[in-house]
Symmetry: C2
Subunit: 180 residues, 2 copies
C-alpha cells in the first residue's frame, strides 16, 4: 500500500532495509551514511457519525478512492490536534456541519492498510450543510434509506450498523473491531 522508503530524510543517501543493531526485531529503512532509522507506523483516520433525530449524515465522495460512494466525514489525523479535534475538523471540512461532539463510538483496526479508524457520535444542531470540495453532496438518511451497497468503506458500514443497533437497545457503547 505505501511505497518503500528509498532515501534518507535526514541526508538524502539511499537507505537499506535491515534489522537495526539495537535489538529491534523488524527490518527498518536505515541510512548507511548518517545511521538514521526510519520507522513506518499505522495512521489514524478520525471522523464522526453526525445524527439529527433518527437520521444520520452521509457524504458522497468527490475524491478517489471510492469516488461517488457514500461515507461518514473522516480523514487523516494531523499533528497538533487530539483525535476528537481531528474528527470535528473533518466534519466541518467535508460537510460544513454544525454539531456538538459526543462520545467515542468505534475504534477499528485495519491492519491490511496500516490504519486505525476512530469515530465519535456528533449531535447535529442543524440540518443545513455546506459541503467542501471533497464532497459531492451531504445528506441525511434514515436507517432504512441508507445506500448500504454504496458505502465507501467497511469501517463506515460497521460503525453505522453499530450506531443503529445501540439505538435499538437504548445504549451507547464504544465498539472495537478488527477489519480483515
Amino acid at each position: 500500500m505505501r511505497s518503500p522508503i528509498k532515501h534518507c530524510r535526514n541526508c538524502g543517501t539511499s537507505v537499506v532495509y535491515r534489522l537495526p543493531d539495537d535489538g529491534d526485531t523488524r527490518e527498518r529503512a536505515i541510512c548507511p551514511a548518517c545511521a538514521t532509522i526510519h520507522y513506518e507506523n499505522p495512521l489514524n483516520v478520525v471522523g464522526t457519525l453526525p445524527y439529527f433525530g433518527d437520521r444520520v449524515l452521509l457524504c458522497r465522495r468527490n475524491i478517489e478512492p471510492r469516488w461517488g460512494k457514500w461515507t461518514l466525514p473522516a480523514g487523516f489525523m494531523e499533528l497538533g490536534e487530539t483525535a476528537a479535534q481531528g474528527a470535528a475538523r473533518e466534519t466541518v471540512e467535508e460537510a460544513g456541519a454544525h454539531f456538538e461532539m459526543e462520545e467515542l463510538l468505534s475504534v477499528l483496526s485495519v491492519p491490511r492498510v496500516g490504519q486505525v479508524h476512530l469515530f465519535w457520535r456528533a449531535r447535529l444542531l442543524s440540518d443545513r450543510f455546506d459541503p467542501g470540495p471533497e464532497t459531492i453532496e451531504a445528506r441525511l438518511f434514515s436507517e432504512q434509506d441508507i445506500p448500504w451497497d454504496e458505502i465507501a468503506f467497511r469501517t463506515v458500514r460497521e460503525t453505522l450498523l453499530r450506531f443503529f443497533d445501540d439505538r435499538r437497545r437504548g445504549l451507547q457503547a464504544v465498539h472495537t473491531l478488527d477489519i480483515d
Copy 2:
C-alpha cells in the same frame, strides 16, 4: 519533538515546506524534483493494563526516556498488526507475561507529542514474569502500593487511576482523555 524532513524519501532531493497545490491547508515537506508530498502524522502507542486479582503489573523502564520509572507495558504500534495485537505484543516483549486480552480501557490523545495512547485490560494467567531487555523489573502492585510519584507517563497514571475507579464502581468503561 520530531526532526523536520530534509530530503525526499523517493529521490533524495532537498524538500521545501509549503502548501501543496491540491487545496490542502497545511504546509507539507514537498519535493521540488519529483513532487512527492511527505505527510507527517500522529503515532499510536498501544499497551495493556495487566491485572492479577486486585494487583496490577508495572514495568520499570530500562530505556530512555524516563529510565528507572514505572510504566504499563506499551510501545509504538507497528504496520501489519491490529491495535490490540500490538498491545499484546508489547506486553510479551516487555514483561514476558501470560495473559488474556480483554476490552479496550483508555484512548488518550497527547497532541503535544503527536501521539494517541490506547490501553486494553489484560487478565494475567500467572504472576510469573520474564522481563525483556527494555525492562529492569516487572512486578505486581496493589493500588495502595503503586509508586504514583515514579510513574513514567501521564497516560499511564490516568489509565491506572481510571482502572481502579472502575473497579470500585463495579463497571468497565472505555475512557477517552486528552493530555495537555
